[in-house]
Amino acid sequence: MSRYSCWDERDTACPLLPLTLSSSIGYTSQGVAGTVSVFVDITQAESQVDSPATPAPRPGRWRGRLTRAALPLLSVVVFGIVWQLAAAAGIWNQTFVPYPSTVWKAFIDVSTTHDGVRGYAGYLLWEHLYMTLRRVLVGVVIGVGLGVLLGLVMGSIAWVRSVLEPWLTFLRALPPLAYFFLLVIWLGIDEAPKITLLALAALPPAAVATTAAVVAAPVGLTEAARALGATRAQVIRDVVVPSALPETFTGIRLAVGMAYSSVVAAELFNGIPGIGGLVKDASNYNNTPVVLVGIFAIGFSGLVIDGLLRAAERRAVPWRGKI
């Protein structure tokens, strides 16, 4: 095993980072003795970088945490009060601005079986949400999977990039509603068109971000790896992919956001059970409280999903921002 602490003088972040090259591959074909990896390990560096940013005094840190937790809560409370006042002022029809209590009652109605009516349109809120999340998950897995693969290929091979980039930009510019009717004609009214639409919405952001990240892989690192005898495939696997991962993750988060914001469009036809179908159906009946319940459900689950993705990102790419 070899350890290097700064192999590229042009890298400005270098002095801060003792780059640890731990072993994981053997370059036997190129005749390089020993096993070398260029995986950048910064676990030690992290504490060094972080400690000056958060100064020592404990009470201060607690106050900081409290503020961080309290401010969002406070904003929610203020929002609730403003909403209640706006509804109570009676300037607008109840259909425009229903009372928070009305929306709460709608939430309870949609979540339970009451007077023999099961939730909304025969399904409970969590069932609507579950069906939507399932569609989004399948769509995003397909879209992001294809997108990242496409991005890797486009980033690594210049002529593929020139061929596919206009197509990708074309697809990215299309609002899902514009082509959803075609999907219905081609694929029917069941799950297939919905999942295809979500996948098509998720693919371009993932592909574009991955392409950009791959293109931006540090030349110094790739050249060094090649100089050490790595093959093209090894360079991609051990240098390009790790350095592209942080930006790819941003792309994935954007892709999930795009897919999630296309949910109502995807569930426009035969969308029940589904949270988008619920919103669409309730707006057909000018049922504002249920529309708001649906919107809150979409918004909150979106927050949770993004939080999970961010946590996953911190785990998977702890070196983000450090190289």
Binding site: N93, Q94, T95, F96, V117, G122, F181, V184, I185, G188, I189, D190, F269, N270, G271, I272, G277, D281, S283, N284, Y285, N286
Partner: protein, 342 residues
Amino acid sequence: MKLKTLLAAVAVSALALSGCAVDHSGQDSAKPTLRLGYQTFPSGDLIVKNNKWLEEALPDYNIKWIKFDSGADINTAFIAKELDFGALGSSPVARGLSAPLNIPYSVAFVLDVAGDNEALVARNGTGINAIADLKGKRVATPFASTAHYSLLAALAQNNLSPKDVQLIDLQPQAILAAWDRGDIDAAYTWLPTLDDLRKTGKDLITSRQLAKDGKPTLDLAAVSNEFGAAHPDVVDKWRQQEARALTTIKDDPDAAAKAIAAEIGLSPDVVAGQLKQGVYLTPEQLTSPEWLGTEGAVGNIAKNLQSASEFLAEQNQIPSAAPLKTFQDAIYVKGLPGALAQ
């Protein structure tokens, strides 16, 4: 420096673009504007619009026709106070006049009564020969429409609850696509989609039959109460033009079909066929006790709407039905029958 130039360019182009929207409606800002919501089902509305009769009759107003795809959207526009007149089906009206919407509008005209132009059709090869056979099958209809109402009524007639069939919410154009692919077994919809479905399917029941059985569906024109109270003269002029259109449909169906065809992009022959399938009242029928009635003696239409409201409440589409009085008060009969004289 570069950024400043860019910002300046953006600002200038934004200003330039905001000044030149494409608008062929010829609005004159000095005159008040009459806002009419319409839909593309064949009706006198389209004849009035195509022949510009309102522009002639009301030269002191800008006439602005706004296209809507469903009665639900028109209800929304009325709630937002963005419409003075609107064309919508009887079940959206029954919903709009009931709580919680309580939309302040009145029914001022019957555009048409659904006849054979709305029907429940089963696809050939599904083995469905009667409504009772629909049990467990996939039936599509645009939710919250008159067809949805008629479908529920047809099912109830045959002792089927909506849960006994798989109801699917699809707009007419999507119904045609799903039908061709074999994704649905039956559909309750209207023309022109209906004629395409009939090529490979057969009628189970039409709205004409349901009307005979006491569940009629109508296309109505509503006027906002605020506008009706402030400008009864304008409502009179508007009613005269709508009555003139009904007379045209009766006496000169070719001219009527031509005007409607120009509005909805179909050939006049097709539209003439569609007009034959609907029921268009004459001005005399309109003011008879069976429909709008006259000033001081509101016709049967209030009862129709109330029974529609009761039915919607039974189907859990609204919390509870409004009393008959609500609907009687919401029929605009001022000056009838004399006001329709042309």
